[in-house]
Symmetry: C2
């Protein structure tokens, strides 16, 4: 099997000073993987002429496909387009279809006057194939050199994604005859990475050489990914399925899902399958659990709503927690969170509810109730259970860890109720 | 000024198949920048022996400091440690302080039995300086070769951050005499990137050569970053401040903040300064605005709570929206969102409130109310104003765009009320 390799070059000073987090590369890598292309390298460089030039030289040594994002804007710090023009030895010309589209965009959609600078967006090197961008003003550009292809796209995620889906993937599929890469992923809870590795070490030792196992730990849950490479899709899938079934049996006591889904989608699917509903009452997570649940398309079928009760007044007045409970045990307590869960269930008339209260830090902790202390209660119509956690992260990760564990507890409750 | 360059190598197949998004690099880059180190390159490679080896060779050509994260776990796919041992020509030995710490961690903190695999975590190449990791079992390792330093850290963000702050930054500061890099950042709203660039092109043309301006557009807002390099911190700050004041004046009509703060922190600071409070009523954002507001430490001083009313029943029963309003105009309408804002203000007894309702997609749109249609209402005790938006992104970005614009509208209302 001839393996085809891709490199991704992301361009922009903001990536090197840490001002933005690169989400484009991960998305592109996933899409390329689906069609059997391995990403060998991902590089981030600044808006610096010689650094971009060098990375083009360097990446073309190892990859068949070089994808670039960023640096195509209308401002002076965007140098990718003139650089590519020089790198591939072309000259700049107006691309009429792009100019027509940009004009249309300004006149009809944005309804703003178009300035000279915007027209510049329609200039492209004459030696490239233009990949029209229906989502913005900067078109994609395809260059070919010595059997390798180079594709430049804007860094704006929505535009990059549209060009990738509508141009890049079809072009690559057409140009390269590639083998297949397939993944199977499962999620476990309740077992640490080392113990899991110990448990499945015999399995790991005997998997075929075209398969690879990876561990991805995350807030007390571990995702296991089995990756296979092969020329024959059917044969590859057969081997992979067989091995994956074995792996599932090995970890059956800890198995959350055998799909590559986020936990919020697992919970959503369980609820949708049973035609049941959920609501959340959140103190310390400030709406993050509701956000995760509603990030899934179609979640309105099972997610009713949430009360984010950051202040105690709201806990009492909207969630009807007994003021005496808060007074006696505090807002971060088993007693308060139990009332929150029971009351939101009733208030929103749902089948399930989850409630959280804790101290996320950096301030607000005490000797008795340190930062990271969290109470989580999950409720169904017949049962409320509550659990204490002690996280040791920073604020942002404490919020993530609380949400992850809350979703896992509610998942367990739904499964137990079946 | 001798410039010192760093490269960041992130290791892990999960980074190349798009399963996880790399947030470590951005964080590290920011920390290095603060002490005057420029990150020239960021590379992601898989758990592949020759690829990691090659990237070590390659990055050491261009950088003085090479930072590696990932691949230090206790499982078979983690090969960074033996590789570094071979690369720098050492042999593996037990590091007693690490073994003591890991033992303590298992016995006292985790209260779980320790297995042989965990003890392996205390093995290190004998030619490295061990950087103790108080947040986990895998220590950091420092290697030196031909005047360059190589530091390997675990990929778990909390552990990597702790080692960076407690070992890496002090070591680099001590070892390298570097110049200074300083940034000034401001945020604008209400003007597109091209128009902004046109507006400040004269300013951009005349800034000193040791300064650099960058545009960072994001959901209709544009962040401008002015970066300066210099040997004398005082002189550099003087120049930078002077130029930044000029830039502020150029964009004064569109200026949101002259600090490098997220919008939710800008809103938070305004409220804290006036001792006022806010609540949110969220339909389509599903709690995301509340999550953003509460991601800021100390937000309980001004954020009271939120009602996430995903279902119409909750809009009616908890938010007391008139059922006739929803019946006549629909849940996504000026009328409904106006009632939501007014009612949450009253319900939570706050000074300000924001309410949103819209269609985030991919499903749920119609010809009259297409995906991306959003109504946002902001309310104070004396005024409610409402605005329509039409976003053209995917679900996730529509949610982000809605939240960003909601925060900006509430910011404007607070500022206008001053």
């Amino acid at each position: 099997m001839k393996k085809v390799f891709a490199s991704i070059i992301t361009i922009g000073d903001e990536l090197l000073i840490g001002q933005v987090i690169d989400t484009n590369s991960a998305w592109i890598a996933k899409e390329l993987n689906k069609i059997g292309i391995s990403v060998k390298h991902r590089v981030a460089v600044g808006d610096v002429w010689e650094d971009i030039w060098y990375s083009l030289d360097e990446e073309s040594k190892h990859a068949d496909i070089i994808l670039l994002t960023g640096g195509l804007g209308p401002t002076a710090d965007d140098i990718t387009k003139p650089l590519l023009c020089e790198y591939f030895g072309g000259r700049m010309v107006i691309h009429q279809p792009t100019l027509d589209f940009v004009t249309h965009l300004f006149e009809q959609v944005l309804q703003r006057p178009m300035i000279e600078r915007n027209k510049k967006q329609a200039e492209v090197p004459d030696i490239c194939t233009v990949l029209l961008n229906e989502k913005g003003t900067a078109p994609g550009m395809l260059f070919e050199k010595e059997g390798k292809i180079y594709i430049s796209m804007p860094g704006v995620p929505g535009e990059m994604k549209w060009i990738t889906e509508n141009h890049v993937i079809p072009i690559i599929k057409h140009k390269f005859q590639v083998g297949f890469i397939e993944h199977r992923t499962l999620l476990t809870a309740g077992i640490g990475e080392s113990f899991l590795a110990e448990k499945i070490k015999d399995f790991e030792a005997r998997i075929p050489s075209n398969l690879k196992l990876a561990y991805l730990p995350n807030y007390g849950m571990v995702r296991l990914r089995l990756t296979g490479f092969g020329n024959q899709l059917k044969e590859l899938n057969h081997t992979l399925n067989e091995q994956f079934e074995e792996l599932k049996l090995e970890v059956i006591d800890f198995l959350v899902t055998d799909k590559d889904l986020p936990l919020e989608a697992v919970v959503g699917n369980l609820l949708k399958g049973k035609n049941q509903t959920i609501a959340t009452a959140e103190s310390c997570t400030g709406g993050y659990i509701a956000h995760l649940l509603t990030s899934i398309p179609g979640s309105s079928a099972y997610f009713t709503g949430s009360v984010v009760s950051y202040s105690n007044t709201i806990k009492e007045e909207i969630l009807h927690v007994n003021p005496l409970t808060i007074n006696q045990f505090g807002a971060v307590s088993m007693e308060t969170v139990t009332e929150m869960a029971g009351n939101i269930l009733e208030l929103m008339n749902t089948d399930y509810a989850v409630a959280v209260s804790g101290i996320m830090g950096p301030d607000g902790g005490s000797k008795e109730k340190p930062t990271g202390l969290v109470w989580i209660a999950v409720a169904s119509k017949s049962k409320i259970s509550v659990k204490q956690f002690n996280f040791r992260y920073d604020r942002s990760r404490n919020i993530h860890a609380t949400a992850t564990n809350a979703l896992n507890l509610i998942r367990q409750l739904i499964v137990d109720n079946s």
